[in-house]
């Protein structure tokens, strides 16, 4: 694929629309994400931010518009979808670890069967990733034996094991007890510093302010405002943005 230089767009979504039945969930959503950029999407619940992030790796299908990920157009072609999924890692609100596999097996499964990496190598890399997220001692345990924060860190390691170019986070801390949110955010901050391209749906305004390169505000299925954190929090332009910020920063 051409154009790996810095500052080129790695995700380009153009005029994306999606309906659930008659409900218009995404309305002409257009967004370009640059390589190494951290984009945080915020907005009230039901605003379509999770739906949008899930269209990027085709967990949700969009009905019109165009999405191109690292030069690969997202079409009905299964090969394209699989290629895009290999480039993107995803972290879910409910972790979605595989409960019947150990932490180590959770992380090595996809590298072994999708990237065809040898077991020993996959395990060595998995251990490195567990070191990186700070819980190597949990490798032989099952997910059910871990705290929520630990599970989410395993989920991040599992996604990273596929060596994705982009990481998608769908409300990664929303299901966590308050004292565990910090440990997950720290891992995400470290990841952002390492230069990973990240698209993050979150309600953590501290993270948005401190880590995001740009903030996208969505409401009622459309993008209302896009801006840098300073701009966004100190000088919001749109009335809907102002109202939302008033409500959450009270």
């Amino acid at each position: 694929m051409a154009g790996h230089a810095e500052n080129t767009d790695i995700i380009v979504a153009t005029q994306v629309n999606k309906w659930y039945g008659d409900f218009h969930a995404l309305k002409n959503v257009s967004l370009a994400v640059k390589r190494r950029e951290v984009v945080v999407i915020i907005g009230p619940s039901g605003s379509g931010k999770s739906t949008f992030i899930r269209t990027i790796n085709r967990l949700e299908e969009h009905q019109s518009g165009e999405i191109v990920v690292d030069g690969i157009p997202l079409t009905h072609d299964v090969r394209n979808i699989e290629a895009i999924r290999m480039e993107t890692g995803m972290v879910f609100q409910q972790f979605n670890l595989f409960p019947h596999l150990t932490v180590l097996q959770n992380i090595t499964l996809a590298p072994m069967h999708v990237r065809k990496i040898k077991k020993a190598e996959a395990e060595a890399r998995a251990m490195q990733l567990l070191e990186r997220v700070g819980i190597p001692e949990q490798a032989p345990k099952f997910p059910g034996q871990l705290s929520g924060g630990q599970q989410q860190r395993v989920a991040i390691a599992r996604a990273l094991a596929m060596q994705p170019k982009i990481m998608l986070f769908d409300e990664p801390t929303s299901a966590l007890d308050p004292e565990m949110i910090r440990e997950v955010l720290e891992v995400m901050e470290e990841l952002a510093e390492s230069g990973m391209t990240m698209v993050v749906v979150t309600h953590e305004m501290g993270f948005a302010r401190g880590v995001a390169d740009r903030i996208v505000f969505m409401d009622s299925g459309e993008i209302v405002e896009i801006g840098t954190p300073e701009h966004f929090f100190t000088d919001p332009q749109h009335d809907r943005t102002k109202l939302f910020l008033q409500q959450i920063l009270k």
Partner: protein, 415 residues
């Protein structure tokens, strides 16, 4: 403070209190009896009534047992074991038994867990049979089986056989069993032997064969049907639904009779005329697969959507996602239902006695009508059916016990 309830703002000045053991749950035999059986007047009455009923049944049973006449079972032990399989060729089923013992031994050693549980049960049974003076070569065969089981365990536990070879061994043991039992070809060790028509197979051997073949074939078919019923492709989905509903709407005995009369209509020209045994096996497999499919579907529906999404997001193909993520979880959730289905299948094999196959119940009927026992007052039906019932119970309970072990084993570290 006198009440011990802290005022509105209060800081505990003490270091953390040490953990204490929970209060004892048992308070001695008498205490337990009082707490559980005689806690109230009504409970006491219920306890005494139950004891009286148990005594009444037990006393009758004991009186019957004291006068029971077990000779017909002992005299027909060969018939109960293998039916009218030619006596001079019993070496062939013996080799099958030894093969199975060796495989169980190796598997128990290699894989442990549930295989070890099953292996222990099998060892106990073989030991018992080796100690009873069954006559002929039977005792020696049982002892050899036990030796192979233990030897296999020893080798398996030391990793002498790869899992993959063991699986291959189990898969091959199916066709090999049929070759050995049918005979009529040059067999290694046994040499040439006359062919034994499958209509001569019988007894516990036939019951086991029907059950194992039924289980082994209906399981994959059932899983495929369950997946088919959830398929996005209408042709596959409607075929699966049609098959499942059609088969579930028909009694097994009807299917068995249909197999006897109608199966050749559905076979290609050159397939000729399948034996009664093959027809019965086909009917049992088709029947069981439909029920199994519904059980497995229940498990598939219990898998949260997030598991599919996580597998998709990692780029796993549909097949890999099924193999590694969805099916392992779905099947574990329905182990009790599946094993229940298999126990049902095992007992339902007795229906083939109605289409002319000599399995355990058919042997029982034949034994009861033997002229030798005509003079016995009250007949010998009670003893014979109690014996057959015990055999069915023994294996059914074994399956049930093993399934509970498997369930707790596969709890995924849940507390």
């Amino acid at each position: 403070m006198a009440t011990g309830i802290p005022p509105t703002h209060w800081v505990n000045p003490n270091p953390p209190a040490p953990s204490q053991k929970p209060p004892a749950t048992t308070v001695g035999g008498i205490g337990w009896l009082r707490a559980h059986l005689f806690s109230t007047a009504a409970n006491s009455v219920l306890t005494l009534a139950t004891l009286w009923v148990l005594y009444w049944i037990g006393e009758r049973l004991a009186r019957w047992l004291a006068g029971a006449f077990w000779e017909p079972i002992w005299a027909n032990r060969k018939l109960f074991a293998t039916g009218i399989y030619p006596s001079e060729q019993l070496g062939q089923p013996a080799v099958v038994l030894l093969l199975v013992c060796a495989l169980f031994g190796l598997s128990a050693g290699r894989w442990g867990s549930i295989m070890r549980t099953v292996g222990i049960g099998l060892a106990a049974l073989l030991l018992l049979l080796a100690l009873i003076p069954l006559g002929g070569m039977a005792q020696a065969v049982m002892a050899a089986g036990l030796a192979l089981l233990l030897g296999g365990y020893w080798l398996g536990a030391r990793g002498w056989v790869a899992s993959r070879w063991l699986v291959a061994g189990w898969v091959l043991s199916g066709p090999l069993t049929f070759v050995l039992l049918l005979g009529g070809v040059e067999l290694p060790l046994l040499g040439a032997s006359p062919a034994v028509d499958s209509s001569l197979w019988g007894g516990l051997m036939l019951t086991m064969l029907l059950a194992v073949v039924g289980i082994a074939l209906s399981f994959p078919v059932g899983v495929l049907l369950a997946l088919g019923r959830r398929s996005k492709l209408p042709v596959i989905r409607y075929f699966s639904i049609g098959y499942i509903e059609l088969i579930r709407g028909v009694p097994l005995i009807t299917l068995l009779f249909m197999g006897m009369t109608m199966l050749p209509l559905f076979l290609p020209g050159g397939w000729g005329n399948p034996s009664q045994l093959v027809r019965a096996m086909t009917a049992i497999t088709f029947f069981s697969a439909a029920y199994l499919a519904e059980n497995v579907r229940g498990g598939l529906q219990a898998i949260p959507k997030g598991q599919y999404e996580a597998a998709d997001a990692l780029g796993l193909s549909g097949l890999d996602s099924l193999r590694f993520i969805i099916l392992p979880q779905a099947l574990v959730k329905v182990i009790p239902a599946i094993v229940g289905q298999f126990i049902g299948l095992f007992k339902d094999t007795s229906l083939v006695s109605l289409v002319g196959l000599l399995e355990l119940v058919a042997v029982a009927k034949a034994v009861i009508q033997q002229p030798e026992w005509l003079g016995v007052a009250g007949g010998v039906a009670k003893e014979v059916y109690v014996f057959v019932g015990l055999i069915f119970f023994l294996f059914s309970y074994g399956m049930s016990f093993a399934s509970r072990r498997l369930e707790s084993k596969l709890g995924f570290g849940k507390r």
